[in-house]
Structures are given as C-alpha cells and as structure tokens.
Amino acid sequence: MATRTGHAHPTTRTYWLVALVLAVITAVEIAVPYLAALDPVRVPLLLLLGGAKFLIVVAVFMHLKYDLKSYRFYFAIGLAGTFVVFAVVLASFQAF
C-alpha cells in the first residue's frame, strides 16, 4: 500500500505473519525463565528476544523501515539519550 508520502507499506498478510512471529518470540520468552538448562544464558537471551520484538514492532508496525529516514533520526536520538542516562545513572550509583 502506498501512503500519501509515496512510501510503500506492507500488506495485511505481512502484518499477520509478523504478529505470528511476535507471538512465537513471546512464548519462548515466557518459557526461558522456567528452563533450568538455559540459566547460564538467561539474561542475554531474554534481552535478545525482547530487543528483537522491539525492533520488529518499530520497523514493521511503526513503518520506520519504510518511511523517511529523518523519522529514524528522531527516534534514534531518544534511544541514544536513554542509553546515556542508563550508563550515567547506573555508574553513578555503582550499580555495575
């Protein structure tokens, strides 16, 4: 589907497929804390799965993959600022 700004957006079939992928990732996420065998990699695995869901929603459902690059810039500034705040706050309180 082309929008008023001339950028093509995915079809409804793509949206349903993406939702299915998100549902599967969520199911894996919920299972991970209960699987003792995955304890050594639990934290990085959960962060990876959560990060994947985050990126999929932003890229496909929010159309950031298909829209103007300037939109990515504004969102990226917020994200970068957040990581700086994370680092400064947690380092200040010696939480690392």
């Binding site: 300037s70 939109y71 969102f75």
Partner: protein, 199 residues
C-alpha cells in the same frame, strides 16, 4: 534566470508536506518519551533490590502478566490493521479494528488494576519501599499512557461514526497508531526488564 529556476521546481503537495511535518513532530515526541521511560527504567534497576524487608519481585505472577503482555502485543496487530484500512479508505473496517484495539487496551488496563490490587494486598505499596515506588511509578505511568491511547482510539471511532473524521486535521489514525505501537514497545521492555529478568 534565478526566478525561472525557482519556478521550474516541482511544487510539493501542501497536504503531503503538512502530513510529513505532523509525523515528524510525533516521532520527535516519541523520541522524548523514550527518554522519559528510559529514566524510569534505570531508576527501577537501581532500586530493584531495595525492598526494606518487604515484598519484592517474588510476588510477581508471571503467567498472568504474560497473558496481559500478549493482549497488548496483539493490540498492535489490530491497530496496524485499522491504520491499513483507513489508508485504503475503508473506514467501516478501520472502525472495527479500532474498537478491537480499544477493547484489548482496556483488557490490559483491567489486568493491571487487578495485578496492583493483588500486590497491595501482599504488602507492596508505593510507599512500602524504593522497589515499590519505582515499580508503581514505571508501570503506573505506562498504564496512564495506555488509558490515554484508549481515549484517543475512542475519539477516532466517534469522529468516524459521525462522518467528521478528516485525516488532514487533528489526530489521525496514523499518528494515534504510532503512539499506540510506542506504548506497546515500552511494555516489551518493561516486561523483559522488570518482570522476566527479576524472577
């Protein structure tokens, strides 16, 4: 010559330019919101172990919160389908998906109210410990964002039903969809960091 050069430039459709400006403003707003929630998540991480001998993450009901998370995640699907339908000029189909999104959002909020009530009965209040304060501030602010989203969705349905929906004026479906998906991605982070990583 210079004037000729300017005149030869193709003029951009004014409505497309306005649309792009409003969308840019929404993305800038969402960028600031990332910062806002990021600050609260880092605060929660700081105080996650400061329970003052009161209840902590052990009282979380992961299966229940997982179901709530799934409901909110699927509301992103209904929202994007509503956006797609309105983009194709099918307002009737779009309204159905908007109502579905609002109902899923309301279900999530009902689950959050139930969860908060259970936690308060278990002794975790906003004043019981820094853990409680940071937990309720973060999840409560997120819940408030969901409530605002449900209100915006309801307004869109109302305006569309009355034949007063104009994508070029006020909040249109695309902007509300961006806001709604943002609320969803914030919960994706909260669910991982606050719930799953703490058990």
């Amino acid at each position: 010559m210079a004037i000729d050069a300017v005149v030869d430039q193709p003029l951009e459709d004014p409505s497309a330019a306005i649309h792009r400006t409003r969308k840019t403003a929404m993305w800038a707003f969402l960028g600031s919101e990332v910062f806002f929630f990021g600050s609260m998540i880092s605060t929660f991480l700081l105080y996650r172990n400061t329970t003052l001998d009161g209840p902590g993450a052990e009282i979380f009901n992961i299966p229940f919160t997982s179901a709530s998370s799934f409901v909110l995640l699927m509301s992103s699907l209904t929202m994007v389908l509503a956006d797609h339908a309105f983009g194709n000029g099918d307002q009737r189909q779009g309204r159905i998906w908007l109502v579905g999104t609002a109902l899923l959002g309301t279900t999530f909020l009902a689950g959050q109210i139930f969860e908060f009530t259970e936690f308060v009965h278990a002794g975790l209040t906003i004043r019981s410990s820094p853990f409680g304060s940071s937990f309720y501030m973060l999840t409560g602010f997120h819940g408030a964002h969901v409530a605002v989203g449900v209100l915006l969705l309801s307004m869109l349905v109302f305006f569309s039903l009355r034949g007063r929906y104009d994508p070029d004026q006020g909040m249109n479906v695309e902007l509300v969809a961006l806001y709604w998906h943002f609320v969803d991605i914030v919960w994706i982070v909260i669910f991982t960091v606050v719930y799953l990583l703490q058990i």
